[in-house]
């Protein structure tokens, strides 16, 4: 039995109030037990197959490829039930909560996709579900708020700070500190204290496992570059992990440059590469001022609007195995529209960042891009921005 990683190089750890430490131990033991249990794996696999619709297709986006000048294959996580990769993790953790005897689930959400995935898993398994969401994100992602409520979850508005993902995570952690006895916190990304970054990665690596087999079967070769957007980084870590040992494959994480890295209004702690620090229980790359106060992130995409990042990404960066780049709001919007027009696919604004990067980065070889979610939730926000751009 291998242990669950607490550190990735210098990053990771468990910087949380003492009250939570026994719950983190319990979760780690439960995960070690579950991942080696054929019963748990069979139950999860069956749900992923019959309920989520896995394996998700690998799609050769011919017209995008033409526009880019190189072949682009999209891993279609947008076709999962609930419309994003988040369901892979939410189902795995909800099953784990049931094993631990915890019937009350809390979650945070930015874009609403993880909130919807958690609400869905809880409806399926008959669990109580409370989702913390910043009120700015509730405004930006209204359809997802309505979906969560229809699914029987309670959406708790968070008014603190910039009223986005960072504050929603903080509010969820405070709830957990208070209700830890009967509550499991389904964190939505590969962030937070150990064992979460490793647990979420393990549950998301199904993306990369499938994609690697699919591309080998279809193209008879590995991609030159594997590209995924990074907020906390769960779709990216899930996509990258099976390719880490393939030294010839470049791994590219695309962060939100927002209004431009130099503006300071971005969500790109890995690319900006400032002083690392502690946020939400882990030591990792983050956005902070010289006093150690955490800065507000900015991105048009609520799912990338986060000043922290998963600790394993910080280590993949430092060790040179992955490279992190950033794409602006404007570039992401352009890619959003082009993907719609050229492929008949409306991508999530998050995933549009990854597509924008492959479109603008020449290669003659094969790019594999994780299309982490669909963009229906973003229509109002995107149209408002496109409208104002047109008016200028």
């Amino acid at each position: 039995m291998t242990a669950v990683e607490h550190r990735f190089g210098p990053y990771g750890g468990q910087y949380v109030p003492e009250t939570l430490m026994p719950a983190l131990d319990e979760l780690e033991r439960a995960w070690i037990d579950a991942r080696d249990d054929p019963g748990y794996q069979a139950e999860l696999d069956a749900l992923l197959h019959d309920y989520v619709g896995r394996p998700s297709p690998l799609y050769h986006a011919r017209r995008l490829s033409e526009a880019a000048g190189h072949p682009i294959y999209l891993k279609r996580e947008d076709l999962n039930h609930t419309g994003a990769h988040k369901i892979n993790n939410a189902l795995g953790q909800a099953l784990l909560a049931v094993r631990m005897g915890k019937r009350r689930i809390i979650a945070e959400t930015g874009a609403g996709q993880h909130g919807v995935a958690s609400a869905t898993a809880c409806a399926l398994l008959g669990l109580e579900c409370i989702v913390y969401m910043g009120t700015e994100d509730m405004r930006r992602q209204k359809p997802n708020v309505e979906r969560m409520e229809l699914l029987g979850a309670r959406v708790e508005p968070v008014e603190a700070g910039a009223r986005t993902l960072k504050e929603a995570v903080s509010a969820a952690i405070r709830d957990w500190v208070t209700n830890v006895d009967d509550t499991h916190y389904i964190i939505g990304s590969c962030v937070g204290p150990a064992p979460y970054p490793a647990l979420v990665r393990d549950l998301q690596r199904v993306i990369g496992d499938e994609a690697r087999a699919q591309v080998l079967e279809r193209c008879g070769r590995l991609p030159q570059r594997v590209i995924a957007c990074v907020g906390g980084g769960s779709n990216a870590i899930g996509t990258f992990t099976p390719f880490v040992a393939d030294a010839e494959v470049e791994l590219i994480g695309v962060e939100a440059a927002g209004e431009g890295l130099e503006s300071g209004r971005h969500g790109a702690p890995l690319t900006a590469a400032g002083l690392p620090g502690v946020l939400h229980g882990a030591f990792s790359a983050l956005m902070q001022d010289e006093e150690g106060q955490i800065l507000e992130a900015h991105s048009i995409s609520a799912g990338l609007d986060y000043p922290g990042s998963g600790p394993e990404h910080a280590w993949l960066r430092d060790s040179g195995r992955a490279r992190y780049v950033a794409v602006t709001d404007v570039q992401a919007l352009e890619a959003f529209v082009r993907t719609a027009r050229l492929e008949g696919i409306i991508p999530a604004l998050e995933s549009a960042h990854a597509i924008a990067w492959t479109l603008s980065s020449a290669t003659s070889e094969l790019d594999l891009v994780c299309l982490s979610g669909r963009g229906d939730k973003d229509l109002a926000e995107a149209i408002a921005h496109l409208g104002s751009a047109r008016a200028r």
């Binding site: 910087y15 109030p17 939570l20 026994p22 500190v177 502690v278 150690g292």
Partner: protein, 283 residues
């Protein structure tokens, strides 16, 4: 009632170091409370820089005047995971008013010759400054100890070693959820006192004391050599007295005082009255 001056404490030297170490000063403060026949030492909490820096200096002086045995001085942080709404909001106000870590640590200097100051700071502002530099500033301001609410046992060794080198007390926390074997390991490494969290939750006022607090305290006392101080959810003189009756060597009151500092037209006078009342309840 006033922190006694008869303990032979020497004045800080030119580097701000006291001849008596912070660890010793904290021990003396608990010992003095006991020697005077009081039921528990009183440790009011304040948010440094709230509502603004000058006013928080007056609050610190008011705590000392009103007979606090120790003072817990909070450093504002943008994302305080262990704190409830009152202290969270106070930290935000302090940051918006321009409070900087250095200014807050300097507040300790105003009262450190009268009462030992224990600084409460989340991990990130410490690492951002650099552990050694931060602790030099802490000791330079005359503080006696440090509480880091998001630094559990597993992450603490380097900080503990650096505090020990300076005679600063790294005060750990234990919670009602902490299992016994773990509590013993924390209790062994405790310096100054063991901060026993009275309830499963964040800081903030509660209607009553947590049930079974006497059991929580007895368990903590059995597994550490240092005094056991209790905080979280203790707001009123009645609750403070009840915590002392439940066996606490020290009582920490935070949100109630921070709320008063935010609401009163004369914050220093308001907190002085509250600390006096809390002190009376512990006599």
């Amino acid at each position: 009632m006033i922190a006694p001056d008869h303990l032979g404490r020497s004045a800080p030297d030119h580097l701000g170091r006291s001849a008596t170490s912070g660890i010793e000063r904290i021990a003396e403060a608990f010992e003095a409370a006991r020697a005077e026949g009081r039921r528990a030492a009183l440790m009011p909490y304040m948010m440094g820089g709230f509502p603004d820096l000058e006013c928080s200096r007056e609050i610190a002086l008011a705590y000392a005047d009103a007979g606090a045995d120790l003072v817990e001085l909070g450093v504002p942080f943008s994302d305080p995971l262990a704190d409830g709404p009152v202290i969270h909001a106070a930290g935000n106000v302090a940051l918006r008013a321009g409070a900087r870590v250095h200014d807050v640590l300097e507040l300790a200097r105003a009262i450190a010759d009268r009462v030992p100051v224990v600084v409460m700071c989340y991990a990130n502002p410490i690492y951002a400054r650099g552990l050694e530099r931060f602790l030099d500033m802490l000791a330079g301001g005359g503080a006696s100890g440090l509480i880091v609410p998001d630094l559990p046992l597993e992450e603490a060794p380097a900080v503990l070693e650096a505090c020990d080198r300076r005679g600063l007390a790294l005060v750990p926390l234990v919670a009602p959820t902490t299992p016994e074997a773990r509590l013993a390991r924390i209790g062994e490494r405790a310096r100054g006192f063991l901060y026993t969290v009275a309830l499963t939750g964040t800081t903030g006022e509660r209607a009553g004391l947590a049930e079974g607090l006497d059991v929580v305290i007895a368990r903590a006392k059995a597994l550490t050599e240092v005094p056991v101080a209790v905080g979280f959810g203790i707001a009123t003189p009645e609750q403070a007295a009840a915590a002392a009756r439940a066996g606490a060597d020290g009582v920490i009151v935070g949100s109630r005082l921070v709320r008063a500092a935010g609401e009163a037209s004369d914050p220093a006078a308001a907190v002085r009255d509250l600390v006096l009342a809390l002190g009376r309840a512990l006599r």
